[in-house]
Homo-oligomer: 317 residues x 2
């Protein structure tokens, strides 16, 4: 079994690189730092190397100062490289990584088994949950700093234990991490109370554009260049806006229409349940999943809106 | 110990009333229905009686059709009455309740021990967690419907496991409830995806009024009668609006100024960490807790705002 093989690999070696995907999220960072602190606690040497710096949200994670930002592996004589939450060896965007002995730990169906050792558990809600099990298997005791990182990984990747991947095991691991010193309030605080002022301004302005069709099942919001400028927000701050109309009781489909200039519009579609918006996106050269897809259209705002609505109406009819 | 005494009381009797506070929330409803279904599963007879009907959010809770709306107890020959999540016997607003043999189950420091049997556990994150323990103690097996109700109780009262009361025990109980059939996604869905359209419109309009002081540590939002009218929302929809400015990284204190007509304003204050806004509220005859307080002021909007800011500035200086 790959878990025990990885545990043995840890015990038998000394110096490790730890990395995750470019533009790291909470699961990437929490898993990396939780593993790094744990390995150090049993006398191993560790370099945590990422292609991109972390979002400021995560600047309070214990050990975050360890992270080295680079676009290539700093050396080639590591005993092994942990690549966490990556579907393939290119995701970390670290040149030379493929020359190391890679330990691949992931929970995505699309994982390519690219490592010397591979452990891919699609039933895990987060890689943080898997790291918890690895530490348990290896007999490494949790302390407050390790537990906090793994809790943030699990908490952020399950959207506060709300997404479908949340299982009884996830909640049991969360309980064990709290027993070991993780503070649920801290995790919530750093993840949900770290919004830029401009992002909340933007939220207000974009919701001000919200409309719905007569059935009440389709809602749409609009982002103009003018709104983006006036709010002072940046493009990253537009993440998640589409979820607000989707939180409305009777709304089944949402379109978020973003003006990207020169008569071009980027349209994000979201749906609930079995309603498939990816087929709509594909019809216009876009793509995505059943409940989340995107496409681009050209024309006037009114034409673009009407084109999109025409496709969406049959889905909720 | 009161838990075992209550368990014995359950075993020895047959016909129970179950109630909770007026304007019931997720913990009240989930705990009532979880307990009701559990008691019925072992052959007891149960009436669930509330003063107010449930918010539409909770209309998918298993067994919700059982709830009787009344302002007095339907009969006086119950063997006992469970009063859940109430600090005193008046909270359910049910005339005649005090004439029954009351079993008081609560988790508030302010509980008055008003029952024949009293079990008040301030370390419990939700009464739903306590009902779980009562069922365990009494040897009542969980099924999917019971577990779903108790999970929603726990999930809603901890704000999705984010508030300070969330403990390792809460997460362990949550895990056990998921094992018994509760679906975390269902709970999230009914609680977070059940917003009225008007509430999201209101959110946009109120955030459109957001401002902050030069330090960036105090933010305020405003609700005029005009905004309330234009949005089509009702007063209940204003719940939670104050949390949006509070989610901003550098903001430490938020004032939500509501125009109530005739030159009167209701002001809700929120703060982070150790910043005490209740002292400010008390200075004007209001009250509350360290992080959440309220007061009323008269005057023009500008005067009221300036009065409030003058009090808040020293708190963040």
């Amino acid at each position: 079994m790959s878990l025990s093989a990885i545990s043995q690999f840890v015990r038998e070696h000394k110096y490790f690189l730890i990395t995750s995907h470019a533009r790291p999220d909470g699961d990437a960072l929490g898993s990396e730092l939780g593993l790094a602190l744990a390995l150090e606690s049993i006398g191993k040497r560790v370099d945590v190397v990422n292609h991109d710096s972390h979002p400021s949200t995560y600047s309070l994670l214990p050990g975050v100062e360890k992270i080295i930002i680079a676009d290539r592996v700093p050396r080639l004589d590591y005993d092994g490289a942990f690549v966490l939450e990556c579907g393939d060896v290119g995701r970390p965007e670290l040149a030379g990584l493929e020359r190391l002995r890679v330990v691949n730990i992931d929970h995505h169906v699309t994982n390519q088994n690219f490592g010397l050792l591979n452990w891919n558990d699609v039933s895990a809600a987060a890689v943080g949950e898997m790291i918890y099990r690895l530490l348990h298997e290896t007999g490494i005791a949790l302390d407050r700093r390790i537990a906090t990182n793994l809790y943030v990984a699990l908490f952020s990747d399950t959207g506060s234990f709300q997404y479908g991947a949340t299982t009884a095991e996830s909640l049991e691991v969360a309980a064990a991490l709290v027993r070991a010193g993780a503070d649920p309030t801290f995790a919530a605080q750093i993840i949900y109370n770290s919004n830029p002022y401009e992002k909340i301004r933007l939220l207000g302005m974009v919701l001000g554009t919200m409309q719905r069709d007569p059935s009440g099942r389709i809602a749409w919001i609009r982002l103009t260049q003018e709104i983006l400028r006036q709010s002072g927000a940046n493009k990253a701050d537009t993440e998640g806006l589409v979820n607000y109309p989707l939180s409305i009781k009777d709304v089944l489909v949402v379109a978020f229409i973003r003006e990207s200039g020169n008569g071009k519009f980027r349209i994000s579609l979201r749906s609930k349940g079995y309603i498939d918006v990816s087929a709509v996106a594909q019809r216009f050269g876009g793509g995505g999943h059943v409940n989340a897809a995107g496409l681009e259209l050209c024309g006037s705002y009114q034409d673009v809106l009407e084109t999109v609505l025409k496709q969406l109406r049959p889905l909720v009819g």
